[in-house]
Symmetry: C2
Subunit: 340 residues, 2 copies
Amino acid sequence: MKLKEIGEFGLIRRMRSSLKDSQRNAVLGIGDDGAALKIAPGKLTLVTLDTLVENTHFKWDYASPRQVGWKALAVNISDIAAMGGVPTYCVVGLGLSGSLEVDLVDGLCEGLKEIAARYGIGIVGGDIVRSSEFFITVCLLGEVAGGRICSRSGAKVGDLIFVTGELGAAAAGLACLGTAEVRLESGKRELLVQKHLRPSPRLKEGQWIAARRIATAMIDISDGLISDFSRIREESRVGAVLWEEAIPVAPPAVELARSLGRSPQDWALYGGEDYELLFTASPDKRKLLDEEAPFPFSVIGEVCQWQEGMVLKEAEGRHMRIEEQGYNHLADAPRSGKRP
Amino acid sequence: MKLKEIGEFGLIRRMRSSLKDSQRNAVLGIGDDGAALKIAPGKLTLVTLDTLVENTHFKWDYASPRQVGWKALAVNISDIAAMGGVPTYCVVGLGLSGSLEVDLVDGLCEGLKEIAARYGIGIVGGDIVRSSEFFITVCLLGEVAGGRICSRSGAKVGDLIFVTGELGAAAAGLACLGTAEVRLESGKRELLVQKHLRPSPRLKEGQWIAARRIATAMIDISDGLISDFSRIREESRVGAVLWEEAIPVAPPAVELARSLGRSPQDWALYGGEDYELLFTASPDKRKLLDEEAPFPFSVIGEVCQWQEGMVLKEAEGRHMRIEEQGYNHLADAPRSGKRP
């Protein structure tokens, strides 16, 4: 059987089952945003690892080395944010072909340095290997006070579903990069493209939520709202009703989608790479968020029983069952914002 | 300028200079076997990362998935061994194409599990990405009591140079895999091939050396004796005289080299992947090693002044200056055991 037949979720399930007795005494292991380990007293050490591959995650014809360096670390910071943690140190692995220009590596370093300085992270080592296809792997460590960690597994029936910021902008940015004619003010186009190429992980937001023990489960939106919620669903054994009208779509993404005859909701639901935080919380936390959260957020649905699956309640009141295939890292098709 | 023009050493030097102010307060940062961080009181946390890439580090036509899984973790354990540490937890990144067989990932997991169990390591997470070329990245954490850590930078003029075990077997194993006609008993051939495909990191040896504070500098032999010593040379600002006759070459490698008309010394000096430990120590530690070391080792040379470079003292007494190019991860040519 081929990997594309069982898909990414199937493969993770299979590996997890194979490796289930090999995790020693990890507090959180395979299947969350990162691992949580008891290395020092009074806190948990977090470990997360993410790779960007040329032609899978970006193309050099639109992404600069500096942007790729930034994003390679940003996507890992986003995982630490989703655990409520503070990022500390990283190591960087590069797969390079000898025919690449030295400037490219200089640019990667500039991007890495810029974001590392912004978030107070030390870059402390790594590895260089020869590879015909370029890739950059970052392994990022972080820490969080023991009781504050947010996993994916605590969502309860009756919880509300929240998301920070707005969705769909990164997918719209990718569409801009792939479309010659974009009918959009250049400032708006730039905003969308930046959201795709140079995402800002919601670190302060994650820490604020974790410090107040608001979230019962939290994840960052990397693969898309539906795909990422289905990971919470799987870990917490719950279902969800999402309120289509409540899902915050970035206005320039709405404008672009209309001009291209595409669905902005699809970008918001399936586009991915927004790196906003998606979390569940008891309804009694809503007041605290409404009154004190120093960042924008939306309430987009409600946690229900596992058997109910994932349902989208449309503006007209219709309930649509959601197919949960989301983004499959092992499918052949390039990333797209299409509703499955 | 192309990367292959500045080479791997040049690139590491360049990245290190670019990133020198981005390391926060790492105890050991870029340029050693791994990083050492002060995360918990009374010990240092070690972090190392290594990647194996299909067609660069192995070919599927002779390496099984289980062997690749084993080796991907083994090469990282070897880095922790070279720091005198104890490996604890790892995360694994996979670059996979959807057209690979599911069995391949099952095999990788088996190899990872087997070596993780052998060395008491937890496998606690990872990442899967789509990549046309297969790769496996392992980021391994470890720990070591603060005063025991062995870096690459403490070698002193007058120190002796030691190596554990025997050299050249891994390069000979690779030669077996690439040669249809090998005139060698099958048991010996198997031993050489296993040394290449399924290396045993010298973890106990590294810990024994570190616990007694014997080594002034230590590194594992991954790229070859000359290449790896030149890293100690660079970090410690010293030179070396290596005694050719004292370099321990594995007997089946000698036998194979003779039958192929190749130089066994070249395999030992430049072949790499033996994953033995190379260390320097004051001459007054030799007695302790001779009397108590529970593992085989050889004294192969002496540390001298930086300006003297690296010199090979041949059996006939001639001194040959050694070119230090060693294995260059960014060169186009495939790995070989040839003297440069």
